[in-house]
Every structure is written in structure tokens, then in C-alpha cells.
Symmetry: C2
Subunit: 204 residues, 2 copies
């Protein structure tokens, strides 16, 4: 999904151009969202702001929702990099229970911060929000196994804990109600609930 659509036979220079245009358009989209919110993002507006033709925007993203999916993909990739090779306890090097807790503590604010973008990324041709394809499920499975969860329960509980962590935020996508963003570092019922749940489940 994140690979730019480069027509077969294009030269390396043209591919580099395509990647650069994609970057410029995403940067323009982020600026509009920060200044005016997701509702003000339009294909025309992005083209103008990035100094590119409207056709280029359509070729890159296909639709308005496609822009938001591309933004989510980019941020998901950065989040994954922190999990796979960033500092512990989110990254490798801490014990699995601490990593499980840290994953939830970082994931809940990530999902809350991306709520408006995730909502705008849903359209009829992509009914499942982008977050559904995140790394959460395989990562939790790996850590729950390392934390000593009985193998017979690994499949069922991985699915259920993924739903416990991501489900409450995904439900908001079709609700009118908008979740409140926690202050950085402030307690949040979903973060606190996750920590309690993990510690009772596999904290020994």
C-alpha cells in the first residue's frame, strides 16, 4: 500500500521524482490538517499548496480518502520502527511484560491522535480502517508467548487483547462522539486499564 505507483519501465530518475512528489503532497496534507483540520483537505488545495498538477495528486492517491490512508501508513511505519528497533521498553531489550505494557501505553495515544485521520481514511471501497492491518496482533502474540501465556490460549487471547487495545478506538470511527485526547503523560482509562489487564494476565 505504501509503494508509490510507478508505471512499468520508468527510469530511476522518474521514480525518485514520484517519491519526492508523494512526500511533498503528504507534507502539504499534514500542514493543512494541523492548521485547519481534516475537513479542509481537498485534492485541488493540496495540488496548489505543493505546486503540482491535480493529475499528479490523483495518480498518487486515487481519492481524498487515499491521502489519509497514505498519511496513516507513513505514521504506522514510524511507529513500527520504534517498536522493532527503538529504545526499550517499547523497543527490544525489556522483559515481555514491560514491553506489553509499554506497547499499550504508546498505542492508545497513537490511535487517539490519529482518530480524525483514520476516520477520513474510511470510504466505501475500504470499509476496514487502516489500523486493522497494524502490527499489533503479531507483536502481542510474540510478547504473550515470551511472557509465558499457556500455548493453548495464545490464539484466542491474542485476538481478544488486540480487540481490547484497538477496538475501543475503532468503534469511535463510526460513532458521532469524538474521544478526548489525553494530555501527554496524563492518566487515561484505556492506558491504565491495559496496564492492569496485562499485569494480572501475565505479570506472574
Amino acid at each position: 500500500m505504501t509503494t508509490p505507483l510507478v508505471p512499468f519501465g520508468k527510469s530511476r530518475g522518474e521514480r525518485a521524482d514520484a517519491a519526492r512528489n508523494r512526500e511533498r503532497l503528504l507534507e502539504a496534507a499534514r500542514a493543512v490538517i494541523a492548521e485547519q483540520g481534516t475537513s479542509q483537505v481537498t485534492m485541488d488545495g493540496l495540488a496548489e499548496r505543493a505546486g503540482l498538477g491535480k493529475g499528479t495528486v490523483f495518480r498518487r492517491f486515487g481519492s481524498r480518502a487515499g491521502i489519509f490512508r497514505a498519511l496513516l501508513d507513513d505514521d504506522e511505519r514510524r511507529f513500527q520502527e520504534r517498536v522493532l528497533s527503538g529504545p526499550p521498553p517499547l523497543g527490544p531489550g525489556a522483559d515481555p511484560v514491560r514491553r506489553l505494557v509499554a506497547y499499550g501505553c504508546e498505542r492508545v495515544p497513537f490511535l487517539l491522535e490519529h482518530h480524525a485521520i483514520a476516520r477520513a481514511a474510511v470510504d466505501r471501497s475500504h470499509p476496514t480502517p487502516a489500523g486493522a492491518a497494524s502490527m499489533t496482533q503479531p507483536h502481542l502474540r510474540m510478547l504473550l508467548g515470551l511472557a509465558g501465556l499457556p500455548p493453548a490460549h495464545l490464539d484466542g487471547l491474542t485476538v481478544q487483547l488486540t480487540a481490547a487495545l484497538e477496538g475501543p478506538l475503532m468503534l469511535y470511527l463510526s460513532a458521532e462522539e469524538v474521544p478526548e485526547l489525553p494530555e501527554p503523560g496524563a492518566p487515561h482509562p484505556l492506558v491504565d486499564g491495559w496496564r492492569f489487564l496485562v499485569e494480572r494476565l501475565v505479570g506472574g
Copy 2:
């Protein structure tokens, strides 16, 4: 949602007729689903089978998806009755941990059995599947409180356990993959996972 739409000023006799027609149409829908599956349910077919006019079907249900929502509502109501006044441990009278376990053991097969109907009940004007408005959340909150979960965690964990129980089945609604129905009484990863989770969380 389950109240038949009776125009203001109708007599008691006409209301009774309306309720009877609704019952006949739902019965016809259940018969078609059992024989041929949800895909064969049509407004025309139901009218013919129930010996009623097509206009009556439209007045009762509004749309094809409305028929499936009415079926789900009916079955949810029956499920709720078992929880509120049926025999323990699903109904009142058992200790809260046993009731929590029993709720999941009954709820997972209920959601699996209703998967095809729930999927058919989703349409653009009602993007949230009917199950989202079930009694699960308030019921879990009540039992988790009785089971001694610290009050500070009650809000967060109620939302997360509701998602753990209902989320995995709701995700299937927009997926291609269809979940496998467990044999009655056979082990199922989501049932076993739920039992393990509840016992670790509040089982003392």
C-alpha cells in the same frame, strides 16, 4: 428499535394486526434463512411467503437490511431475558466471576451464529452493526464491580473487555473470511480465552 411503527391514532385492533404481521414476516424470514441462507431473503419473497402485500413489508422494515436488524433485535431480546431472569450461571444467582465466564461462553456462540444476519443488517444508513448496542457493556460493568475490580479501573476495563468479547466477531463483519461455527459444547479459542482472561483478572 423493536417497537413496530404504528401511525398515531391507530386503534388497538390495528396495532395487534401490525404486531401479528411483523411476527409472520420475521417467521418467513427465519424460514428462508434456514433453508437457503441470508442471500435469498427478498422483500417480494417475504411478502409472498407470509401472504401479505409488499407495501406491508416496506412499512414494517423500511429496507432489506431492516429485516435483518429486526431479527437481530428479537434474538438479542431473548438473549437478554436469559441473562436478566434465566437460570444461573448466565442468569442471576451465581457468583460474579462465574457469571462473567458464563456470559462469554454464551455470547461467543451467539455472535457466531448471528454472523450472517449481522452482516446482512449493516447498510450505509446504519454503519454500526446491531450488536454494538447490546447489553454487554453495562452487564460486564456490573459484574466486574461485584467481582471486586478496583473502581478506578472499572471504566477503562469495561470498555476493553467488551471489545475483547464482541470485537473479534464484529471485525468479521467487514472481512471476506467467515468464522467457523463451533460445535455446541466444543472448545473454541475465544470461549477458552475469555474464561482464562476473566479468571486471571478477577478470579482471586
